[in-house]
Amino acid sequence: MSQSLEAYLVLSVLLFGIGVFGFLARRNAIAMLMSIEIMLNAVNLAIVAFGAFTPELAAQASTIALFVVAVAAGEATVGLAIVIAIYRNRRTPLVDEYASMRE
């Protein structure tokens, strides 16, 4: 089981699905950002799994996954900063109350 590519890809798909549901269903902007992190983790798992089972890609996959991690870190920084900036104005982290960006 742990030696087949499909098992890891299915695991990655399940994790991605959980992230998609969280992103669509949660009202809190930070919970939505956490769901995005879960989705990015799922994608990273798929990349590393592909690399682990394909000898030609072994080191390439980790390199690409490392770039994904770096970009995800930048995304988290800017995303959370935007949420905090909106919170300063609107006093709520709930996205359905951000119907308009101005008062």
Binding site: M1, S2, Q3, I18, V20, L24, N44, T77, I82
Partner: protein, 194 residues
């Protein structure tokens, strides 16, 4: 004294047991993140989910990614998220309703996506995939990173710098804005809900 070849009583390979344990921990924690009512607990479950993924990276023969996962996700990003939760947490908000009213549609969409992707994964042949894990050497990653991907590496470095500066700029307090004066004080109920 070494371990027996297979797990006693179950006749599984040890890898399978570790895989199932890590996968269950990761998916369960991720479900708690998504379904939990208390957002700060969601943030803490997220750390456990990251930990499970780090274990799976180690199982995949990629210790470099496992260490990166622990350092970057469990160490840095979770702390960032927990701080953002603490800043934006307000008791008086309508926290009872954590889900959108259209949450069922989101659940249907997510389940449909999962079914579609699982079918795609299982029906594809994956001709290049071997049937065992190839361990990844950190030395090979370093050779690629500082040779073939050097330009991308530098671009990512600049991107991270830009993200840090942009984050600081976005989250800083604007001294001209009158709303910031109310930040430390008690939250007024009538004017804010308007």
């Amino acid at each position: 004294m070494g371990l027996p070849e297979t797990v006693p009583y179950l006749e599984w390979r040890w890898d399978d047991l570790v895989f199932l344990a890590m996968a269950g921990m990761m998916l369960g924690a991720a479900l708690f993140v998504v379904l939990g009512r208390d957002i700060i607990r969601s943030g803490l479950w997220l750390v456990l989910s990251f930990a499970g993924l780090a274990g799976i990276y180690a199982l995949l023969g990629s210790p470099f990614m496992a260490v990166t996962q622990v350092l970057v996700y469990m160490g840095a990003i979770s702390v960032l998220i927990l701080f953002a939760i603490m800043i934006t947490q307000s008791k008086s908000g309508p926290a009872r309703l954590v889900f959108q009213r259209q949450a069922w549609a989101g659940a249907v969409a997510a389940i449909a996506l999962v079914l579609l992707l699982v079918m795609a994964v299982l029906l594809t042949a994956w001709p290049l995939a071997g049937d065992q894990i190839v361990p990844q050497e950190a030395r090979d990653i370093a050779m690629l990173l500082f040779d073939d991907y050097l330009f991308a590496f530098e671009v990512v470095a600049v991107l991270l710098l830009a993200a840090v500066i942009g984050g600081l700029y976005l989250a800083r307090r604007d001294p001209d804005m009158p709303e910031t004066n109310r930040l430390g004080g008690p939250r007024g109920s009538d004017e804010d809900s308007a």
